[in-house]
């Protein structure tokens, strides 16, 4: 039973395999699929070159660079899953946290602030370069903390609101923050210019992560990713490590006291309060922790792209991330990972590939990428109508929906009479 919960257990592989599988101790049954998936993922840059090209329909497998973006978006989706999936708070402005993370990286690891010169653990940059240059690994933590703080600040006045009012307020913040970074190229009142965000040009270049000279000579770790020969692979592996940490934290949090309180709030806010769950504090925690991962992912992505641009932070991204959570199954970490990988891949290269294949192999002439968000819309609507639990539903959630009755009143406040 336990293995079925992971959703990765192979089924339909023949009776004998299944029999042998049942013989294994449950712990191994839980671990083996995970280890398999992890090793396939970790070795991806190694065997990428030998993968076939010209595959029907998808044409080619995602490049390693695309895979990095996939991992970053999965991280964000897992963070959003804490807010939406665990705690049942609809957040339509998650992109704001991504923006805060990216701009934190921009401020603290680039030559943006030419007025000062401050270096702390920066790698691969001449110590004469002006600007603030912190090591990216510090910045990931700082960005996470700042974003969590932003989450708390946004949460405190708004988390009292229920249901769709909360969705709208988060949407408002998600719109204000990109506009702020777009407009804040002169935040100093009066004469003179203080450029906070470089306006619509965005902050670039942003430093790359790395381990520096001393760690390189003792452990052989790369000095600076951007300057290395196989930079994409280095980014890939460190992103994967970050994702594993995120998933680990997410799963452990779900099973913790706090996580159970979140689920209780998701199921029935009033009942949870009656049982002594402090609503505001618990919700604020979910916001802060969800924001934390969004900030870390945003900062890392900014470092990978070597820039933070206001045009990256549009509402579409919030919906895109929400799609991953919905499609994967709200609250289900593994579902969100799978859906995040699929959707980001589709967004980055999949749709273009499939569209190209369709145009070549079938009489259909249709530019799929032009209306890609329309296709996501179709996916969302069909999913909501035919399979509202998602691809890999969270076991608890699925049980509830199957039992019926309760389903209409739970998940997200009561229906308004």
């Amino acid at each position: 039973m336990a293995a079925e919960g992971t959703g990765t257990a192979p089924t339909g592989l023949g009776h004998r395999v299944r029999g042998a599988w049942r013989q294994l101790p449950p712990r191994a049954r839980n671990l083996i699929p995970g280890i398999l998936v992890l090793s396939v993922a970790a070795l991806y840059p190694v065997y990428y070159d030998s993968l076939p090209t010209g595959v029907p329909v998808i044409q080619s497998f995602p490049s390693v660079g695309t895979a990095v973006i996939m991992i970053v978006f999965i991280m964000m989706a897992v963070g959003l899953n804490i807010v939406v999936g665990y705690c049942g708070l609809l957040d339509l402005g998650y992109v704001a946290f991504y923006a805060v993370g990216a701009y934190t990286a921009g401020w603290l690891a680039s030559g943006h602030f030419q007025q000062v010169k401050f270096h702390l653990g920066s790698v691969g940059i001449s110590s004469e370069t002006r600007g603030i240059h912190l090591n990216i690994w510090f910045i990931l933590v700082i960005a996470g903390a700042l974003t969590a703080l932003a989450g708390i600040l946004i949460g405190l006045p708004t988390l009292r609101l229920r249901g769709d009012y909360l969705a709208i307020v988060t949407l408002g913040f998600g719109e204000i923050i990109p506009q702020f970074v777009n407009n804040a190229d002169d935040v100093k009142p009066g004469p003179g210019v203080f450029d906070l965000t470089a306006g619509s040009f965005g902050i670039n270049p942003i430093d790359a992560p790395g381990f520096g000279q001393s760690l390189n000579s003792s452990l052989g770790l790369p000095i600076n990713f951007q300057q290395s020969f196989d930079r994409v692979n280095l980014f890939y592996w460190s992103a994967l490590t970050l994702l594993l940490i995120t998933i680990f934290c997410s799963v452990r949090l779900r099973d913790s006291r706090l996580g159970r309180a979140w689920v209780a709030i998701r199921e029935d806010e009033t009942a949870a309060a009656a049982m002594g769950v402090p609503l505001m504090r618990t919700k604020t925690w979910s916001y802060a922790i969800g924001a934390f991962f969004g900030g870390v992912a945003g900062a890392y992505y900014a470092s990978f792209k070597s820039g933070a641009f206001p045009a990256d932070f549009y509402f579409n991204i919030s919906v895109f991330l929400l799609c991953m959570v919905i499609l994967g199954g709200m609250g289900s970490v593994w579902g969100v990972v799978v859906a995040g990988a699929i959707l980001t891949w589709l967004n980055q290269e999949g749709l273009a590939n499939i569209g190209g294949w369709l145009n070549r192999e079938t009489p259909l002439r249709f530019d799929v990428t032009e209306v890609q968000f329309g296709l996501y819309g179709v996916i969302i609507v069909l999913m909501m109508i035919f399979r509202p639990v998602g691809l890999i539903p969270e076991s608890r959630h699925k049980r509830e929906l199957e039992e019926g009755g309760l389903a209409s009143d739970t998940l997200y406040g009561e229906r308004h009479e």
Binding site: Y165, Q179, V378, I380, M384, G413
Partner: protein
């Protein structure tokens, strides 16, 4: 028991206490309003004519916002659903209005006045019918099946629908901007003192008022309107009283859609629009609906006009203004402030859900 247990339902004693001793939030809220009044006074004193001219522009835009906001409020009132697709239906119908008026009817700025009025009226009717059918289809295909699902499901479906509709506009109309603002000359219709009222402003205001009157009559005085209000209060009880709930909800969507269609045409006459205009306009209009008190028709109208005024004050006045690039932030800041300080809106009543 924790204090936060039921913040949304103050006991009678708490409510009394609140009345006697103003809370911190209401003081901050009043301060906020006071600052806005001060800002307006400062601008009014320095240049009253500009102020009134700007306010007229705001009123015109506000009328369009009000029409869209009414659509949000009607649907929210009956289904408690923020119909995200509404703004996109508005944009699509505006683009269709362009096709009808410019391409199909060949209207130009030189068309004879009578023909122009007739053509625009025909466009208005056709666009409203088109938008109503789109809105009806959306409800029929998607929302209807999800009515007994959790509300989050319907809300997310609405977001999905919004993407679908805006991409339909994108597919048929591309990324270009469309405008029919040359149909009505921008010259002065009449002037009082130094203040001139322009023709396009007059047309918009004179179209909005009858539409609002018809809507009020439909909701307040017809049997179908009574049914709508009954379904909004309690679907099950309404069904037991013999009201056809499905038909009533469809009717609401048709009504909301035709308002969006009218707004689409009016917006096209004033400004230019493209496939994604509806998203931003929809959010602004939704803010207007929340500002006035969602579910409240008079509130949506008031909210729409207020938001229109605030927008044009911000973009047009000279003293202490943030300028057009901040308009969206200001509108959303208002939205957040309203939800925090007065979630029931200006004219709404405090409901359990609203707190």
């Amino acid at each position: 028991m924790t204090v936060e247990a039921q913040p949304e339902q103050p006991s009678p004693r708490q409510a009394l206490g609140r009345r006697r001793r103003p809370s911190v939030t209401s003081i901050i809220g009043l301060l906020f309003v006071g600052l806005i009044v001060l800002w307006l006074l400062r601008n009014f004193v320095s240049d009253p004519e500009l102020f009134i001219e700007i306010s007229l522009i705001g009123l015109t835009t506000g009328c369009v916002y009000a029409l869209i906001a009414l659509g949000y409020t009607l649907v929210y009132g009956i289904l408690q659903l923020i119909n995200f697709a509404h703004g996109d239906v508005f944009a699509l119908s505006g683009l269709v209005a362009y096709s009808i008026s410019i391409n199909l009817l060949n209207l130009t700025g030189d068309t004879a006045t009578i023909a122009l009025i007739g053509g625009l009226f025909l466009t208005l009717v056709l666009t409203a019918a088109f938008a109503a059918s789109v809105n009806f289809t959306i409800e029929f295909l998607a929302y209807r099946r999800l009515r007994d699902q959790p509300r989050l499901t319907m809300l997310i479906t609405a977001v999905g629908m919004s993407f679908i509709v805006s991409n339909i506009s994108l597919y048929f109309y591309g990324v270009g901007f469309y405008s029919a603002s040359n149909l009505i000359q921008a010259g002065a219709a009449f002037s009082i003192g130094d203040i001139t009222v322009r023709w396009n402003q007059l047309v918009v205001i004179l179209t909005t008022i009858p539409v609002l009157l018809i809507l009020t009559w439909l909701v307040k005085s017809t049997k179908q309107g009574k049914g709508m209000r009954a379904v909004a209060q309690d679907q099950d009880a309404a069904a037991m009283m013999g009201i056809n709930v499905n038909r009533t909800i469809s009717f609401t969507f048709i009504l909301a859609g035709s308002l969006a269609g009218a707004a689409g045409l009016l917006f096209l006459l004033l400004y230019n629009m493209r496939f994604n205009t509806g998203f931003e306009l929809g959010l602004i209009a939704f803010t207007a609906a929340v500002l006035g008190g969602i579910g409240n028709l008079a509130g949506a109208t008031l909210g729409g006009i207020l938001i229109g005024l605030i927008q044009s004050w911000n973009e047009g006045l000279t003293h202490w203004t943030a300028g057009g690039s901040w308009t969206r932030s200001i509108v959303f800041a208002i939205l957040i402030a309203i939800l925090v300080f007065r979630p029931e809106g200006l004219l709404g009543e405090r409901t359990p859900e609203g707190a």
